[in-house]
Symmetry: C2
Subunit: 459 residues, 2 copies
Amino acid sequence: MDIIRDELAELGEALVLDPLALDELRADKSGHVASAAPLALVEARTIEHVQLALRFASRHGIPVVPRGAGTGLAGGAVGDAGELVVSTRRMDRILEISADDELAVVEPGIINADLNARLAQHGLWWAPDPASKAISTVGGNIATNAGGLLCVKYGVTREAVLALKVVLADGRLISTGHRTVKGVTGLDLTALFIGSEGLLGIVVEATLKLRRVPAGEPVTIGASFGDVADAARAASVIATSSVRPAVMELLDARALEMLRTWFQAQGETVDLPGGAYLLVQTDGADAAREAQELLPIIASLGGVAQLAPDAEAGERLLRIRRSFHPALESRGTVLIEDVAVPRSALPAMFAEIDRISSEFDIPIPTIAHAGDGNLHPNFVLPTRATGSALDVPEHVWEAASELFRAALRLGGTLTGEHGVGLLKKRWLGDEIGDMQLELQRGIKAVFDPQGLLNPGKVL
Amino acid sequence: MDIIRDELAELGEALVLDPLALDELRADKSGHVASAAPLALVEARTIEHVQLALRFASRHGIPVVPRGAGTGLAGGAVGDAGELVVSTRRMDRILEISADDELAVVEPGIINADLNARLAQHGLWWAPDPASKAISTVGGNIATNAGGLLCVKYGVTREAVLALKVVLADGRLISTGHRTVKGVTGLDLTALFIGSEGLLGIVVEATLKLRRVPAGEPVTIGASFGDVADAARAASVIATSSVRPAVMELLDARALEMLRTWFQAQGETVDLPGGAYLLVQTDGADAAREAQELLPIIASLGGVAQLAPDAEAGERLLRIRRSFHPALESRGTVLIEDVAVPRSALPAMFAEIDRISSEFDIPIPTIAHAGDGNLHPNFVLPTRATGSALDVPEHVWEAASELFRAALRLGGTLTGEHGVGLLKKRWLGDEIGDMQLELQRGIKAVFDPQGLLNPGKVL
């Protein structure tokens, strides 16, 4: 500790040693809590702060955990005993907005929704749209290659980043990528950094590819189905129709049941009949016509559709989906899984979830980004005492393992958008195999030969 | 040679030793011709053929040049003395087309246009659209992260590939990526392979992300302007309007001049007045309305627009642009450059091209994918004798150097979509710097520790 105080003194108030503050770094939103608090926190305000911290850490062989707002769902940003946490949360300035080039240059700590509020003043928009956008940072979105509700139409984070500045493990600063949409000079390090979960370096600046805000108001449809198989089929037919929805979310029977109880407890009456609910939103100049085209498709597959008469009513329908996690959290600690399967395998994956739920006798309320086959099955655990480690009973891990295996069998992946972090590390080899693990570790060693960045996570 | 004949005997007719056939491998479409023919050619029919060839090469330390149709513009696939060329051109089967999951699984040797002809029967389409699509392979498109005319709206190759099978330098086979649109398990090796120009492995299978063919007919506008600055400004205003064109191509005065002469020599009359020509195409259900919206924009910036009354007339307008390279080639050997700048810098880059053209007293006819700031300035050299090395006079290289420096100064890149290969290698360090070069070489060494894949190219 003395060595930290001495050698990092020039960081001033950016160096945080307060035990209460350090204790908070043991957790993120995954439910995982580290066994002990990290050594210290550097709340960087500048690129130089990050470089200073990493030069210090590499000099002394101290492990470093990069962190943004701490909203990760896989334990990728939790600090543990003996580690130095370097947060870029306070580096939250917008350095440039160019409407002509449809790009913005930002520091990594800016909150996704705050950035988009500023961009909206210019008629612009950064498409990555994780459900956490009100609390997660752009840097975190980049570290996990975040997806979200809108990526069925607008792509994931990797498709919305042009260039990066990254501080390497030894404190050196590199710039990757271009201010241009195209550019093929050498290996694509920008793409490699996106989704690398803090293993290769700390992103300290990003040039983001923007879009124009779509014209007009989005139009929203809520549709009730008898069961999830019918709803999944409808999603599949819609996805292959000529209409490309911006949002397509599917809630299963367990999810609806929990929502009904939750809304009732809030004293609200929400009409949620049936065994599955499909929420579809179209946007752009043709939103209304496109929504009209979807109504007969939904009806022909047994759905009862409700077309929101205006944007405000549409927001009320979307609120049903947004209330899902609060509803779960009111019952305990939530372990959110994140499998993805080819879209056509969505009904099969729901059937597998049903089977696993019965076999292990655990309710697994599930919501899916149906347009891209990404499902979030949830386990609700008894709420733990504050600050204690996540207490996941072994049979829940077994059920989760079964889920992952089922997704892989169906041609899918164990994480669509949350990342591997600590929580999914033990299954990574099952998906990518030993040869690829070895290559990935080799790449990691090129960037971080001492193995100091986020040790013990992902690989 | 005996060792090749002996140890690769089981390849049968996939092993090619015919001197005439080997001689052809000294060149691609870049104009570069290697000093001597390679040792041998493996025209792989199967993944096992590729593995066999690479196991053999790594056993004996023989350099390997991966090759597709040989249409590259940077010399990335030319075979030289002592090298083994491994071609995947004959691995051209479509293994699967899934309309439900909007994906296709293909071998790398299939020609882009042939694939799209087959996909069209299912109402599907693979978006990467290099001008070479009638002759270039999907594997080559992946190796260079090919762009093209349509990527202003539909993105580059990296955004249209889900998964790869790759044979590594030592003959091992790995699978990267997913059949799902989302997936974040570990580092993104799929993205790393895309655009890696044969340095990291040989792609032997690709899972491609498809789109539905847009509804309706595309609508085409051709517009004449007084000079290229006005036309570039119009392109910029269109690009930031609410309309997103599928194609936006710009030809400068020199290009038009050559086209006029060429059409005349063909005995054709084509109306091409003015000092610059802008070609814009809209597509999708709203194509006609969108095109109408562009007409007043063009007029307000001094352009004289001609709206094609039907798709056939639109094709005639597009033919003007497609005739550009034949027109150049009729005058000599063409050296095509490929700089890209932020879109707002397009007028400035055209001014730089004008300046360099005057300073070096060389005509530099230029065409631009104006929607994404990608310019192809061309040098026409006296036609060389067949099979002799590209004879680029030093002052042409100097003019090209000036072009690259200008593009970098404007925040751009020295290659937007053709790749580095041999031809741009000497400028790569200027763009990405020594630290990044070192990291890229480190990654290369992880995949290819003996340095056998495409040695002397790119890095």
